[in-house]
Amino acid sequence: MSTEDEHPDLAAQQTATDEPEIDRGLIEGWAARMISNPDRAYKIAFYTFTIAFLVTTLFPFYWLFMLALTPSGQFGRDSIILTPGGFDPSLLAEGDLTMGTNPGAFIDIFTTVPFHRFVFNSFLIATIGTVLVLFVASLAGYVFGRLQFRGKTPLLLTVLIVSFFPPAAFFVPLNRLFNRNFDVLAPIIADGSLYNHPSSIIIPVSALYLPLAIFILMVFYAQIPDGLEDAARVEGTTRLGALFRVIVPLSAPGVATAGVLSFITIYNEYFFSSLMTDGRPENWAPMLEGVLRFQGQYETLFNLMAASSIVAVLPIAILVIVAQEKIVSGLTQGAVKE
């Protein structure tokens, strides 16, 4: 099968070498080459775009990093642009390796509060939540994407309706529900209520994220050729088996995307988690609670917030790196003869 490895390279090299360049101005020659060789222009445009995207997406991060390195006393002295506040390279000569910055912020966040525990809580909650979401949404996505039955459209719309409401709209009833003491739960959970229990974060957040996951999976599952599901069923799977053994792996880009989106959402969730836990890391308070610990009634340790946000984003960066193999796996190619 051919891939995107088209010929621009070869073509570009060839024309580039036999182009007489002596008597042309630099720009003029360049323009002429662009015109005579659109592939090259295309390539340059491509890299320009890529770099522009990179700069715009990464700059705020870079800036956040600079903020983290700024010692607390340096806010407001001069604005932070490309270097952290208080940055003074001349200090290097005096043996100050930090050059007036405060890399210690990245240690302080673990010593002043157990930030790692907060991150762990969020990570665990997000992992469980994501698995739950993907499983439930897979079943529903399969139904909506691949089955024909009466009542499908109304049901699908019903799912969608959930996303019409601001999360706050669910809050008062849910708060009353989750804080009620259920005697049945008493043996499992300390006081029979879900307060301070991870499930009180996982359940509402998963449910509110469910419609998006269902829609994403529906779209991707619908695209898998029927032939493959048929083949799996003949080979001896149930329909559900075919879903998890064939349709899900083949929808890897969609599933991984839904997974990443849901993981990030749950990982960063704050609204429900701040209300369903008492804020102690032992009681499953989430990562964001940890970040916001650095924001007091009056004093806000922006540098520590920045440092902790950077640290908090790391697990997600790793997740994305791992998942991206799946996100970009374009596997269906040549699956069936059509």
């Binding site: 799996a232 003949v234 080979e235 149930t238 890897a252 269906t332 003869k337």
Partner: protein, 382 residues
Amino acid sequence: MANVKLENITKRYEDVTAVDNMNLDVEHGEFITLVGPSGCGKSTTMETIAGLTLPTEGTIEIGGRDVTNLPPKDRGISMVFQNIALFPHMDVYDNISFGLRLRKYDQEEVDRRVEEAADIVQLEGMMDRMPSEMSGGQRQRVAIARAIVRDPDVFLMDEPLANLDAELKVHMRTQLQRLHKKLDTTIIYVTHDQAQAMTMSNRIAVIDAGELQQVAAPLECYNNPNNLFVAGFIGSPAMNFENGEITEDGFTSKHITVDFDPAAHGVDVGQQVTLGVRPEDVHLERDQSSAAAATRTFNVVTDVLEPMGDELFVYLLMARDVEASAEGRGEGQLLMNLGPDEDIDEDQDISVVFDREKIHLFDTNTGDAIVHGLQPKSVPEP
């Protein structure tokens, strides 16, 4: 015992009836081939048997059990799909062993069977290729291996050899026949390849527009086709047809007359009939000895020659004034089949005879066969 029984199976899509009230009884251990024009409903029939499509009406039995509502996995079948349908995310080994792994066979057994199947389809050493890295024929062989690696009661094979070269086709043909004998399974097969249909099957089921036309042994269909459709469909190149009328003396058309006793053949004088004769039953006058009973001689003109290496197809015009229709054989055109070295040219006047015993008569209006082979004439020709 794994007989397969279709009873009144009908499958309707929105605007097409893909399968129309089909009744088919496949014996245990039988090798039956479904043939028919493209879009006639062969694949749909297979899918219904497999349980992948629910029939709109009718019931299906496999091994005496009503399976109409059973899921595919409980029907004891395996299937080669026309569209191949390899799992793109699995390598060859995983594709082939998929069904076995589902059934939790132990690793050794899986390996052994996969190796055996790969051997049969000549795919040794490709075990870790992905489908996207294989040629069309290789993919098809993986699909076959995936089906034969298990030993189900019924094999459904939809065009399993379409992308294979002649040699491999012959090889696979033999292998499938051996497998059939060895495993004592029932095989339902779809092919467009006459050679496969003729050589492999116990019976052929000829389908047209979703309706069963004839179910019989291959030679039976070839020699005694039920109707015009079967006659035209079975045999390649197809039978020659000539529309005409029954006269007192036999058959008369614009170009030819063949004389026989209408009464003795169950036709009425004046009846519109179509006469059919296969290309190999048209002989040069000088070879007329090879016909069991030659008709009178017809003078024809050669049109196009198609040398095939092992044989030579000669298109004939029954008269100089016949328009050579390029769209297959038209009225007044005739095809004959000669040895490869026959010394013949285009646009040459020659004389041919038909083999009387191989002449078929059909009712032009209903298409039903009337007679296969003309009886010797009661009154000897002068």
